[in-house]
């Protein structure tokens, strides 16, 4: 923790070589402006509410890049599990921009491993690769440009020197990820030329971009906290979704809007600037209300979690549930008797399980990226290092081959919901049991053959539920494997795995 003092501006003697992991350092006066951590320009923005809008805009610009778009469509869980994805992104950004150099390197390695598993071809058979340095440079470029634009649009443009320092930080971010920042121009002037060229020549109206703009917010599932109020959530979403879409479209660069054929709505620019201005004003809110990670944490906290805030959250959720129950109870009944709504039995239907748990990417098919997304989520939660992560991925890959062999009856290489529903009982094969065993091994960090309270919490983010099966305060291998297999074959509905893999 020798980096703890990096941010203090009153220590001119701070050794600038602390940042030797970063790219070339332009000048000595920059010693008071660390690239990462407290005191950096980006760190000032991290808690800015306008970032919510800027992030959406950056995501749209990313998704409009054909390679990124194809990678998102194939691999990302952001349509079905947007809140989980958002939380993981924020945690990752925090590690990458924090003052702890070791944590940054570790996170960079993790991201590299994660991206190295994402490659393929889009539907026009053009290859994509999440490790392509030019593609990654573009992702960083959209983040930088959206930050700058967000300040411009809210009427508080950045000073030239602040902008240059910010650009240097983003190049440092890319360098931490790639080892070098060669694919982003050295000077800010050249950057704008690079940016305009990509916008005008490379961006397309991709499917991923349309999903982010028009589908994501119209179908955004309620975060865990608001699960009890589906009606209220849907009503708010119906109102806010299109507004977010319109605001984002209006904030995109004009040449791209023209090329992608995006609509010019009357009043949209005013609405957009109003939104940025309002979000900018939200900066006067108390500190604690503006921490995005705190808010996403709150939204993602599941009941019964033993987080210090869980009592409040549980109380809040209870109040939400009661309000939801009351609304449902007092809302008038439709005059005709409802058509046999008998599907909501305690046993989870095969199709429901398929949609909630197995189909992580939400494309209606079970495919390797779905299982890879599970492996990704599990290794993110457990913060695994390379060998364990590989074991977990390998186990999931073996399970995928087993599933494919057993279920893919029409031979199209993927499993549809119908194919799955037809074969549910035969699912607990040896490869799935192997997945459970590997998961047990990597969760059991101290290797004592039981999962104790702390290891359990790392995986499920909740304390042990003392249900009838659990004896004592540890989880044995056989009980763990049994529970995991019965969850994964859709036999058990309520279990700690639900928040882990099914929650939005």
């Amino acid at each position: 923790m020798t980096h703890a003092d990096d941010g203090s501006l009153d220590s001119p003697g701070a050794d600038p070589t602390d940042h030797d992991g970063g790219p070339s350092r332009p000048g000595a006066q920059e010693a008071t402006h660390p690239l990462f951590g407290p005191g950096s320009e980006f760190h000032e923005f991290f808690h800015d509410p306008r970032w919510a809008l800027a992030m959406i805009r950056a995501t749209v610009l990313e998704a409009a890049h054909p390679q990124v778009g194809a990678a998102l469509i194939d691999n990302s869980t952001f349509v079905t599990h947007p809140w989980r994805r958002l939380r993981n992104t924020l945690v990752s950004l925090q590690r990458m921009w924090g003052s702890d150099e070791q944590a940054r390197q570790r996170e960079a390695q993790r991201l590299n491993r994660l991206h190295a598993r994402m490659s393929g071809a889009d539907d026009r058979h053009r290859p994509y690769d999440a490790m392509d340095p030019a593609v990654r440079a573009w992702v960083v470029a959209t983040l930088f440009e959206s930050t700058v634009t967000m300040c411009r649009l809210s009427g508080q443009p950045l000073e030239q020197d602040v902008m240059e320092r910010l650009y240097e930080e983003f190049r440092g971010f890319l360098a931490a990820l790639e080892g070098h920042a060669d694919h982003l121009p050295v000077s800010l002037t050249d950057f704008w030329r690079y940016y305009d060229r990509v916008v005008e020549e490379e961006l397309e109206n991709t499917e991923a971009m349309r999903i982010v703009l028009y589908k994501l917010f119209d179908h955004l599932p309620a975060p865990a906290l608001l699960n009890g109020l589906p009606t209220l959530w849907a009503a708010g979403r119906a109102l806010v979704g299109p507004v977010i879409g319109a605001v984002t479209v209006a904030s995109l660069p004009e040449p791209f809007r023209r090329r992608a054929g995006l609509p010019e709505l009357p009043g949209a620019p005013t609405l957009m600037q109003g939104a940025y201005l309002a979000a900018g004003l939200a900066r006067v809110l108390p500190e604690g209300w503006r921490r995005p990670e705190a808010i996403t944490d709150l939204l993602a906290l599941s009941p019964g979690s033993d987080d210090p805030r869980a009592r409040t959250v549980t109380a809040l959720r209870d109040a939400m549930h009661r309000a939801g129950a009351l609304i449902r109870l007092i809302s008038p009944l439709s005059p005709e008797p409802e058509p046999a709504a008998a599907d909501s039995g305690p046993r989870r239907g095969a199709e429901e399980f398929f949609a909630e748990v197995l189909d992580q990417t939400g494309n209606g098919y079970l495919d390797w990226p779905d299982l890879a997304a599970m492996a990704r989520e599990l290794s993110t939660r457990l913060d695994l290092d390379e060998p364990e992560e590989n074991r977990l991925y390998d186990a999931f890959a073996a399970w995928w081959r087993e599933l494919q062999a057993a279920l893919d009856t029409d031979g199209d290489g993927r499993v549809s919901a119908q194919e799955y529903a037809a074969a549910v009982p035969s699912l607990a094969g040896p490869a799935l049991i192997k997945v459970a065993e590997v998961l047990f091994d990597v969760t059991d960090k101290d290797g004592n053959q039981t999962i104790d309270a702390e290891e359990y919490r790392a995986l499920f983010r909740t304390a042990f539920h003392r249900d009838t099966a659990a004896t004592g305060t540890t989880y044995t291998r056989s009980a763990f494997v049994k529970d995991f297999v019965s969850f994964m074959t859709g036999r058990r509905r309520s279990s700690p795995y639900d928040p882990l893999l099914a929650q939005a």
Binding site: D318, R322, A325, L329, A341, S344, G345, T468, A469, T471
Partner: protein, 272 residues
């Protein structure tokens, strides 16, 4: 031993809806519909009498064998009643629970209303109203046994208390008084474990006619009784105690006491 307070836990077996309808040459379903008023009246009477726990036997596991049209009507009726009175029950601070409701034949919408009402009123501190719906006393005991075996308790360690902890809603106290209307004198598989020491009264009145006054009469009948829990009273007959209990009981009762005459009056008619 003979403390004659208000019973803590009163249970009602709501019998006689069909006969009530038959007496009036109405379809059985209208008897069920007429039962709603009695239910609401009794809930209110129990609450104001200071009863802490009220259980109502609405639908037994055996009732599924009734004609499907009647069962379907009952499901709809119960759903309507639950939704109609949900807000009021909550406002009165009544905690509502539904005992049973395990059969897949219970419509999903109804099960959700039950769950919603339980969620809504979970933290209420007033009277606890337990509605036994799709309930069977034996089934609860079997379920408890299963749960006990699953928890791996050694046979010697099982006591009445530890067994009871595996029953649904284990915080429910033993039933002190069961009221079965319409003069029928059977247990009908109702909360078998909890009624072990209960006093039973069998008013002749049919459930749709059962009102607050009848309910209070039953409470007084209970208060006049000697509860011994299998023990022996110290060398005295029940006579003086009964008259002792009867005095203040009658004095407190704001209602006329129609029990004997009215029960006999209805006695002749209710079996038709």
């Amino acid at each position: 031993m003979s403390v004659r307070g208000t019973p803590r836990h009163v249970a009602c077996v709501m019998d006689g809806n069909g006969r009530w309808a038959a007496q009036r040459s109405l379809p059985r379903t209208s008897g069920h519909r007429a039962a709603e008023a009695a239910v609401i009246d009794v809930i209110e009477a129990a609450r104001s009498a200071g009863v802490g726990w009220l259980s109502l036997y609405a639908f037994s596991t055996e009732n599924w064998s009734r004609p499907s049209t009647e069962v379907g009507f009952l499901m709809q009726l119960v759903r309507r009643v639950v939704r109609k009175h949900a807000a009021l029950l909550h406002a009165r601070g009544i905690r509502c629970r539904f005992l049973g409701v395990g059969d897949p034949r219970v419509p999903g919408a109804l099960a959700r209303d039950f769950a919603d009402l339980m969620t809504l009123t979970r933290d209420n501190r007033g009277m606890t109203l337990t509605v036994a719906f799709d309930h069977g006393g034996r089934r609860d005991i079997v379920e408890a046994a299963r749960s006990l075996i699953r928890s791996g308790v050694p046979a010697d360690a099982v006591t009445e208390e530890s067994f009871a902890a595996h029953l649904p809603f284990p915080d429910t106290p033993d039933v002190d008084l069961v009221i079965r209307t319409s003069g029928e004198q059977r247990i009908s598989n109702f909360m078998l474990w909890q009624v072990a020491y209960a006093e039973w009264v069998f008013p002749q009145v049919l459930w749709p006619d059962f009102r607050a006054a009848h309910f209070l009469d039953c409470l007084h009948a209970y208060q006049r009784r000697e509860r011994r829990f299998g023990g022996v009273l110290p060398a005295q007959s029940q006579g003086p105690v009964r008259s002792q209990g009867e005095g203040p009981g009658r004095g407190r009762n704001p209602h006329p006491t129609p029990e004997q005459p009215s029960y006999q009056h209805q006695n002749g008619a209710d079996r038709t």
